[in-house]
Symmetry: C2
Subunit: 194 residues, 2 copies
DNA sequence: CGCATAATATGATGATCATCATATAAAGGC
DNA sequence: GCCTTTATATGATGATCATCATATTATGCG
């Protein structure tokens, strides 16, 4: 073994992270293999030593995107009560920062409309990530909430939809106003303090 | 004038309608000029006699998509009261039929994540259509609703988000369950009868 | 310090696509 | 029925891209 045992794995990880950002900012079709490799500091040629196809990269990128969001929220809500965690989530998600940084944001608010056009492997990866997000949120709902998964899915729908709409609005102040209103409405509905 | 005055206009309209469907089912980048022309019963060559660029076609397609949705709902809600119109809208939008037919559905639930990556002309067309949808819905809210536009935008967010999520869920029964739950929750919140 | 090999780079290849140049066809006035 | 003009078709062109074949580099063992 001429290179360290971990060298290739580390390279692969770098590529996947570059892809996770690129896929979110430019879409699965909008990004080229060469571009991702360049972003990872490499050239396109070595790509097929790491992935059997571009689709496999997209799958890994989606897993990574959901995973890193998930890890970030786990950190943010560590030790918080259910309602604190939920409030933190809403306050972090429905924001101008999220609107303006799709590359690091929630894949649901970035890839949703591309998804039905992707191959099965990509759709499966997305669905896995989506369910894990929904289940996490369902776990933050008040105990005894009936059908918590569908409530959580509705919440994700409204939050992601709000960010998507805010992205379509060119006027920053207007977008900000809509996001703030959505945030307050959601928190009010969930019985959270403003 | 060797062809009838309206011949070219009619052809153009056919092309735009084909594009409106194609853009929604395959995305602005996923669709090719030749494909759209073929769907309209033509070959690709004549395209530039009708449009200066593919982008111009996408703009026209988005206008048409929003316009035809808008005309359909105007027909459906003709003569209805505000709350009837709103209920009809929710019951038509948050459905499996809409989930399964993006090509004829709401552009918000189909193009949202592609949009930030498009050129200004396309984004402007989308924003125009989005605002007109939001204003239409705002007009159906109970009189005296404060900040009706942001309430309407939230509604669109939740409805479009629900359809997007339902499209990501491979299990039809599960998707149906989520949509029904979202529909009931939205109507309940708006004070509408189930 | 050189060598075997894993990791990456360079450089095709063939496909798809927007765009454009040129050729053909259709349609109504004469 | 023919001829002019408008509308459409055929057929490049150059760009981008996924994929693959081959060359080069870098690493640590002997």
């Amino acid at each position: 073994m001429r290179y360290s045992d971990t060298h290739k794995d580390e390279t692969r990880k770098t590529v996947v992270q570059a892809a996770a950002a690129a896929v979110r900012s430019k879409g699965p079709e909008g990004v080229s293999v060469a571009e991702v490799m360049a972003a990872a500091g490499l050239t396109h040629g070595g790509f097929y030593a790491h992935f059997p196809s571009k689709e496999a990269l997209v799958v890994a990128a989606i897993d990574e995107a959901f995973g890193s969001s998930s890890r970030r929220f786990a950190r943010l809500t560590d030790g918080a009560t259910r309602s604190e965690a939920l409030a933190t989530f809403v306050d972090t998600y429905v924001t101008m920062r999220h609107r303006d940084h799709p590359e690091g944001g929630c894949p649901v608010a970035t890839l949703s409309s591309d998804l039905p056009r992707q191959g099965r492997a990509v759709r499966d990866a997305y669905e896995r990530g989506l369910w894990s997000l929904v289940r996490r949120i369902a776990g933050w709902l008040p105990e005894g909430t009936p059908d918590p998964e569908s409530v959580a899915a509705s919440l994700v729908a409204e939050m992601a939809g709000s960010v998507l709409i805010a992205r379509a609005i060119s006027d920053d102040a207007e977008a900000d106003r809509l996001l703030a209103a959505a945030r307050h409405r959601i928190k009010h509905r969930m019985g959270l303090p403003p």
